[in-house]
């Protein structure tokens, strides 16, 4: 079965379906509904036997590269730290097909936002290469 990464982003990706304020500006009950949905997605994936991993990333980012012999690593926060893509976290799933991965990603994207409406968040779906050669 192929594995997929369903990547969520703090910023970047296609034009948002519609603008949504940051979550700390939402009404408390909308925040609760959103967080409850995220717990529910994790439980659903586990019950389905499709869950591999789920992680959240902090928004702090450091770019780093080798500094050369006897030099410290070189770091920067990027050429355009305010606008570049920034991943926020992922679900890794193990599913029957790409179609199923897209279906689950769409479900993740339906998470509620203010007023109980779907968030329509863009989810970045990436297939994970398998470690062993295929048998076919």
């Amino acid at each position: 079965m192929p594995k997929y990464l369903l990547l969520k982003h703090y910023r970047g990706g296609p034009e948002p379906y519609r603008p949504v304020p940051p979550m700390d500006d939402w009404a408390p009950e909308d925040v609760e509904a959103h967080m409850a949905f995220q717990r529910h997605v994790g439980e659903l994936l586990r019950e389905n036997g499709e869950y591999v991993d789920a992680q959240a990333l902090t928004p702090a980012r450091t770019w780093v590269r080798y500094g050369g012999p006897d030099a410290a690593p070189v770091t920067t926060d990027g050429p355009l730290p305010e606008t570049s893509d920034l991943a926020a976290g992922w679900y890794m799933i193990d599913v029957e097909s790409e179609e199923r991965a897209l279906e689950l990603a769409a479900y993740v994207s339906s998470e509620p936002c203010p007023g109980g409406k779907p968030l329509y968040e863009w989810i970045d779906v990436r297939e994970v290469m398998s470690g062993a050669p295929a048998h076919d």
Binding site: P22, M23, D24, D25, W26, A27, P28, D30, V31, E32, M35, A36, R39, A56, T58, P59, A60
Partner: protein
């Protein structure tokens, strides 16, 4: 010791691990090899004991581990198979093991100052706690192979060190506290394990800080049932259902702390335990004795030359106490003085959010909570801070009383 008919429970088996291991190492066996041999003996016990329970489980383990050590030296596979078959029928001769201060001796080995903290923790949980590599890996969310490698590297590092001198108790205490604080996330109850190890340590040393650490763990652990709601959300101290607190654990913690303070050698853990006691003692948040808490924080901060850098948790806790005793503005002024050093830490912003809320400035509180959420490194804390921000921004809250206890 156990009756042959009695089933040996896991706790009793694990309690034997440090005693048997210490006996082997004291007898001159190499730590790493002895630890491997004992692990094999434990596996063997699980296989053999259900049908042939030993009269003296500790002696059985010591004898089987000794055979493994001998076998390992001979590396004679055929002979090993024959002895395995013999073991199933015949109980080995007892070998002398002494309880004594084995725990302390082993903790000094595992918490050798030359090892990294991650290695000290892993080795302690395995060699003293008796947890399996798989359980330790599970607790820290790393692959089992990674944890196995970390443990074997640590044992290899110990191979070149002398283990017959007394170790550094401060390192042991720090390792146990690390185990305790890691204990709220994983599937293995590391907090309970840390308390169990600290109890053993207190039996082995008179050092008041060991008691202080045990008391601190007990007094914090007592509040654990109230700290999360059924959905896993953080519940702050001022909103906890205090009837859920474990009064027996609080009583034990207070007793242990008193015995430590009676020795008249104060240390950080004793002081932190004293602060925890004052929180645990209050029947409601309003009854919290903030002036006393502030006095203890003054003592705690005085332990460091540069407390803002060396002990940020203490200076931030003190700022909250100042906020309660001298008013939120005074508390905020305390945090202003730490901005240059702690201004990027999520706790600094969370404390300011709390103090703003205490002073009734909800827009400033919301902004500070949101800034804290952006810097949080733990999902439960991040979610909690986002909720705090949303709550402080919600118009209906503006008439509600501010929180009354620490964040």
């Amino acid at each position: 010791m156990l009756e042959p008919t009695q089933r040996l429970d896991e706790g009793a088996l694990r309690a034997l691990v440090p005693r048997v291991l210490a006996a082997l190492v004291r007898r001159g066996e190499e730590f790493a090899a002895a630890e491997d041999a004992l692990q094999e003996a434990l596996l063997e016990a699980l296989r053999v004991w259900p049908k042939h329970p030993p009269r003296d489980p500790g002696a059985w383990l010591a004898t089987v581990a000794t055979r493994r050590l001998v076998d390992a030296r001979r590396s004679d596979a055929a002979r090993r198979g024959r002895e395995d078959r013999l073991l199933e029928r015949r109980e080995p001769e007892p070998a002398g093991i002494e309880p004594g201060d084995d725990t302390l001796f082993l903790l000094f080995c595992c918490c050798h100052p030359d090892l990294s903290p991650a290695s000290q923790v892993a080795l302690t949980l395995r060699a003293v706690g008796g947890l399996t590599t798989a359980e330790i890996a599970d607790a820290f969310y790393v692959p089992e192979a990674t944890m196995a490698q970390r443990i074997s590297r640590a044992k290899r590092a110990l191979r070149e060190r002398r283990l017959d001198r007394p170790g550094d108790l401060a390192v042991v205490l720090r390792v146990l506290y690390l185990v305790y604080t890691a204990g709220h996330v994983g599937r293995v109850d590391l907090a309970g394990e840390a308390i169990r190890l600290a109890r053993q340590l207190v039996l082995a040393t008179e050092e008041p800080e060991a008691r202080g650490l045990l008391a601190l763990m007990l007094l914090n652990h007592a509040r654990l049932p109230a700290r999360f709601d059924p959905d896993g959300r953080i519940v702050t101290l001022d909103r906890q259902d205090r009837s859920l607190w474990d009064t027996r654990e609080i009583a034990e913690g207070v007793r242990v702390l008193r015995s430590a303070l009676a020795l008249k050698r104060r240390g950080r853990y004793q002081i932190e335990a004293a602060i925890a006691t004052l929180h645990d003692d209050a029947a409601s948040p309003e009854e919290t004795d903030w002036p006393q808490i502030l006095a203890w924080y003054d003592d705690l901060v005085a332990f460091s030359n540069d407390p803002v850098r060396q002990d940020p948790a203490a200076v931030l806790g003190r700022a909250v106490a100042v906020g309660h005793v001298l008013g939120p503005k005074a508390g905020l002024r305390e945090t202003d003085r730490m901005r240059a050093v702690l201004g990027e830490r999520h706790r600094w912003h969370a404390v300011r959010g709390y103090l703003h809320e205490l002073g009734g400035d909800l827009p400033a509180a919301a902004a500070a909570y949101a800034a804290a959420a952006r810097r949080a490194t733990n999902v439960a804390e991040r979610d909690h801070l986002v909720r705090q921000a949303a709550r402080a921004r919600a118009p209906e809250l503006r008439s509600v009383a501010p929180p009354r206890s620490s964040p």
